[in-house]
Amino acid sequence: MPLTDLSAFQIATQIKQKKLSCREVTDEFLARIEAVEPRVKSFVTVTADEARQRADMLDRRVAAGDDIGLLGGVPIAVKDLISTKGVRTTCSSKMLENFVPPYDAHVAERIAGEGAITIGKANMDEFAMGSSTENSAFFPTRNPWDLDRVPGGSSGGSTAAVAALEAPISLGSDTGGSIRQPAAYCGCVGLKPTYGLVSRFGLIAFASSLDQIGPIANDVRDTALTLQAIAGHDQRDSTSIKRPVPNYLDALTGNIKGLRVGVPKEYFAQGVEGYVQDSVRTAIDKLAELGAEIVEVSMPSTEYALATYYIIAPSEASSNLARYDGVQYGLRVLDPGDDVVAMYSKTRAAGFGHEVQHRIMIGTHALSSGFYDAYYSKAQKVRTLIRREFEAAFEKCDVLATPTAPTVAFKIGEKTADPFAMKLADTCTIPVNMAGLPAISLPCGFHEGLPIGLQLIGNLLDESTILRTAHAYEQATEWHKKRAAL
């Protein structure tokens, strides 16, 4: 079996047992990147030299008898909005094309502290705004299952890299589904943690009340392992939750007898393809077979989540992205005789792509004098209604099972002309961010050779239960063993 077929867990174990060296593993994944990257294009930057140097350093520590950590020697792809000291971090935007962060994000420090080897910075929709990775200012990433299709987004590069075995694990971020939707499209496992579980220090901000960083992998155990490495309190993010982090690997017991699985009927509504509904219903039957109790629930506010999201996220983005003004970092466009307002306006027009400009304008309008109550304030109240429905559902069940996305991966270019159609790809994932809940997507079937995702939503800070449920399902099925032919 080629080294690149090993899971992160297997790699870390075999390095610990000195059956493999970090350098050997790193070289193997770099060779794989060289072989498939021209077709998949997962990475904005491949950090080959840095990765090899780090692998050699870690090998010396292993030789000296050190425990190099949970992810010791495991290559990892990092979404290009997570700051990496000394390594270009672009957000797939012309605005930050040459930006080199002077410090590491909290999660970059954490994965390094656990012995992981960052192998590259992954492509994404510009500033994480999009559902296909076509909004990258540099190039679109392709779906390893069908190179004419999108990998999903915005963490499309992180996910395609894992599906193409260019890295066993990766980090993405999820504001409205940006980890789970690409995981569904690429046949991977992706987890959005509870809001506040993973520090956003050094994450380039999109919508601060929604953004979370999370892991992407080819199986549930690697997802749990990576989450273990990045979860926990950090005082540099004031929304970071101060609570002991459970052992997520211990949660993978294989036993879901008596677990109450809620099925919200609104997630099986118009717009969700029949083949997706069938696969997800079959997966729910499998959970029942494994001993879970299935509970029908209703969450009527679900249909309002998309509109709510497209007020709240752009509003917060318009504020967060005000910092790109050509002064402290990033692009500057300044013509002779220009005043500062002209400099700001030209810089932002040249540096931001269309979708980013569109969302800045939505948010600016929604927050502007005379419109705040009708839009932002109203959306925050609807957010309360959505949250309450989840709270009520979790009084009756332990997890909720839904589709992750209404379709399989669509063709490159298919939805670029109609940005609104693109937004519908996120209808099943967005409500979860509104309520700050953890959720995981894992493969539950195929339609015409393309993967379908099952979403399991958990109660606040109950990552353990969704991981346990996902793992039990995975062990009882074969979907996670399938790999894209490249």
């Binding site: 506010s301 709510t308 318009s318 002064v327 005043d339 700001y344 304008m361 925050q380």
Partner: protein, 97 residues
């Protein structure tokens, strides 16, 4: 109702985005479409509903005001388009007398 050119210009100015003529047209169409979609929220009665700003019930996370290491000026300025004398440089903002 379709946003007027004046309304689009106002939003673009507040956003600090210089739009071409074609972009102004496209912005009018796309903003009008999404704003009319937002009207869907009016179907919901939120009269006595508290807004949710974020989901974690933490307020005012405070820490001791102690001196900690921070970025050196050279590191803070390393990405600046223009700097001089340990400062960011911008076009003149104060008119000369």
């Amino acid at each position: 109702m379709r946003l007027s050119p004046a309304e689009v210009d106002h939003i673009a100015l507040l956003s600090r985005l210089e739009l071409s003529e074609a972009e102004r047209e496209r912005a009018a169409t796309e903003l009008t479409q999404i704003l009319s979609y937002f009207e869907k929220l009016a179907e919901l009665d939120t009269e006595n509903v508290e807004p949710t700003a974020q989901v974690i019930p933490t307020v005012n996370v405070l820490r001791e005001d102690t001196v900690r290491p921070s970025l050196a000026p050279a590191a803070a300025l390393q990405n600046a388009p223009e700097s001089a004398d340990n400062m960011f440089q911008v076009p003149r903002v104060v008119e000369a007398e």
